[in-house]
């Protein structure tokens, strides 16, 4: 189980030695949104195979990036959370090349916080101090924009400027500009509570 190394004394090569293998960064992505159980991780990564998931988790725990908690679930350690800027930067690169959903592609509400961090326009966020709550496909999370930075978390927002309850499809259409904020809140399958201008700010801050 000695992990294969590039054998280069280089920061990038070291990072890839640690998290560069197949599935590893997606695993870190899913854990970056909160702890998950083995079964949840497996269900969220179709195609990984149970042995490979177990091996990846074992390696990540040995490296100190992930811990198995008393409750039996897996969570990022403080060291593991240090990978987040890299995940965001990669996602920013990928976002420009994402395009439309392809046949058979999976989409999960869980990935939205990372997608928003990647799509964020800091230069548009001067003087913005907002907090949003999203409820998408039974996932509830909050997004806060303050001091030109985005923070996110699972669960309800404390003092949200709006609460948006919708399916993933409508959210994707808002993100790619096919749907305006005004049109979104009129849809039958969408519930919106709060200030429409805040939703318009949000759309502008995270527009692709």
């Amino acid at each position: 189980m000695a992990l294969r190394s590039y054998r280069q004394h280089c920061s990038l090569a070291r990072a890839l030695d640690l998290v560069g293998e197949r599935w590893t960064m997606l695993l870190m992505r899913d854990l970056s949104c909160g702890s998950q159980r083995y079964g949840e991780l497996l269900a969220g990564l179709p195609g990984i195979g149970t042995n490979l998931l177990a091996a990846r988790l074992k390696t990540l725990v040995a490296e100190g990036l992930v811990e198995k908690r008393a409750a039996g679930d897996y969570a990022l350690t403080a060291a593991g959370r240090e990978l987040e800027p890299a995940l965001v930067a990669l996602a920013r690169f990928g976002a420009a090349r994402l395009g439309e959903p392809r046949e058979g592609e999976l989409w999960r509400a869980l990935w939205t916080p990372l997608a928003m961090k990647a799509a964020f326009h800091p230069e548009r966020s001067a003087d913005v101090d907002d907090e949003y709550e999203f409820r998408i496909d039974d996932e509830v999370f909050w997004v806060r924009v303050r001091n030109g930075a985005v923070t996110t978390g699972g669960g309800q927002a404390k003092l949200p400027d709006f609460v948006l309850t919708t399916g993933g499809q409508a959210l994707l259409e808002l993100a790619n500009g096919a749907l305006t904020p005004g049109d979104l809140v009129e849809r039958e399958d969408v519930e919106f509570a709060g200030a429409l201008p805040a939703l318009e700010r949000c759309a502008r801050l995270f527009a692709r």
Copy 2:
């Protein structure tokens, strides 16, 4: 040659579909320092194997991230250069876990610009407007710090605050703090021309 995909409609997954395979990011790293020929790339990535290098280059060219130029060398396209923030972020993660050189590990002066961007402390760079020239193992490149950001390039600096000619070993010792700027310039195998305070600023801006 249909490239294997994670089949997830996620920015991160898309990025990894494009550049997540083994060797690809290291290839992009080496090309980010300037164009290189097939043979140079091969020599700089021991272990890759000629077939794999050819396959990776072909894929990257097809994706529009790399181009083969009339001179016969390979270079990043504008799209390929957009990956750099992700390489820097990953390198920043890896730098904290790099440690001392291990037995058999390769080191190349070519990687220094990326390492410096990863090690950069923007919060220490207020009011700094410096330009440095390095000549390491026959590699010549410049580093500029201005407006809290780092830019680098191959070749000589225009108006350098110093020119430092040294081997990689001494530079590594400076980077990890084992050698002070004052001690460095006194070494037999080191040539230093310019302002010592500038070198001290440099060491502080890029200290690990």
